[in-house]
Amino acid sequence: MKKITLQEKTQVANELLEEIKALHTPGEQVRFMEVCGTHTVAIFREGIRQLLPDGIELVSGPGCPVCVTDQVYMDKALAYAAMDDVIVATFGDMLKVPGTHSNLWEAKSAGAHIHIIYSPLEIIELGKANPDKKIVFLAIGFETTIAVIAAAVKAVAMSGLKNVFFLVSHKLVPPALRALANQKEGHLDGFILPGHVSVIIGEEPYSFIPTECHMPSCIAGFDGLEILAAVRDLLAQRKSGQYYVGNQYKSVVAKKGNPVAVKLMDELYEVIDDTWRGIGVIPKSGLRLKGEYAAFDAERMIPLGPIESGGVPKSCQCGRVLQGLIRPDECGLFGKLCTADHPVGACMVSVEGSCAAWYKYGRASGGMTWEE
């Protein structure tokens, strides 16, 4: 994409919207899911929903790693935080994710050693500075973050540090897409694929979407124009019946992704079935450290014993929100018992959670409709 002025951008947006209108039959209901939480926020910020013709619905998906982190995982993190000789290192957005009895924020306030970091690579310095402590890093995230954490695991292995461990709960996007495409409820007509996950994995891992699920899909960037271009691509695929993996973020997303990152992830991890908060087990959607790197797996090296974990509150609808079955504002708790200040479910915790985005932007625009 060339450097363009605001005026040119508006013109391109108008052209894209004209094409979108031409590709959409008035009155036809079409549901596209934006899988990535960063897209959810960008769609709100750029007012994309208000620009699209009636009938084209953008549904938010499970693309917020914090939101899909299982409650049992949080309870394990809290159990580590309760150990005197452990420092838990974590991304800041994990602090308020509810565990069964508490969260990391409360544990930190009560004096637990919880260290917030921006980059996973900071754990090396943290490990060196605290030789008498064990560092347990909360390794969550999709492929974008997995690649960076894999680099950190490799760096720890190369450093010779013996006191740095990873509590791994990585989630893989393609298996989740397969589960969403096959779910009986909440029919979807196409996927807006996550831009920065695709930077790592490329186009190929999505190839089952057109061939097996017979659905349109398109990788998108985070600019309003790139999102509109993806919507146009999905509609064009739908209209022609010729499905493929579209790529409207080609300048950053290579067909093969980042082969160095993919190779490193293959070297370090093996694929396992994994539990997604509110959704349940998705086959082959998680990872764990394998071979010599198992020596950095917190759960194997610092055993925890049985963890008592309750379920998520029954009234919390995060699971159905994450699967695109209901909109956040259709949950009975939304905006009442569950708010950004007092989140009940994980989707309200992270800034990129569907509920948090709807709470922040959706209400300000008067629910979902905007008077022309």
Binding site: K2, G47, C64, V66, F142, H196, D223, V252, V260
Partner: protein, 83 residues
């Protein structure tokens, strides 16, 4: 969470690079982009470069960040005025 921003590499020292972004310099890990060199634009996520970016695209994206606020303001101002 998967937010990533493009920035220019101004120094490379094996696996550690220094980027400049809106006047601020910061070190980033280059393990995932071993062929990156000084002058390249890289996409940075959580302190690590994850891809080398086309320069034109990097400029467009950085411009988009700056313009987003302006665009948002204009859009909402227009909408509100019409109400």
């Amino acid at each position: 969470m998967c937010l990533a921003v493009p920035a220019q590499l101004i120094k490379v020292n094996e696996f550690i690079g220094t980027i400049e972004l809106t006047g601020v310099t910061r070190d980033v890990n280059l393990m995932l982009v071993p062929e990156a060199k000084v002058g390249d634009y890289v996409l940075v996520h959580a302190g690590c470069a994850v891809q080398i970016v086309d320069e034109e695209e990097a400029n467009a994206t950085m411009e988009a960040f700056k313009e987003l606020e302006e665009l948002e303001e204009n859009y909402f101002a227009g909408k509100n005025a019409g109400r």
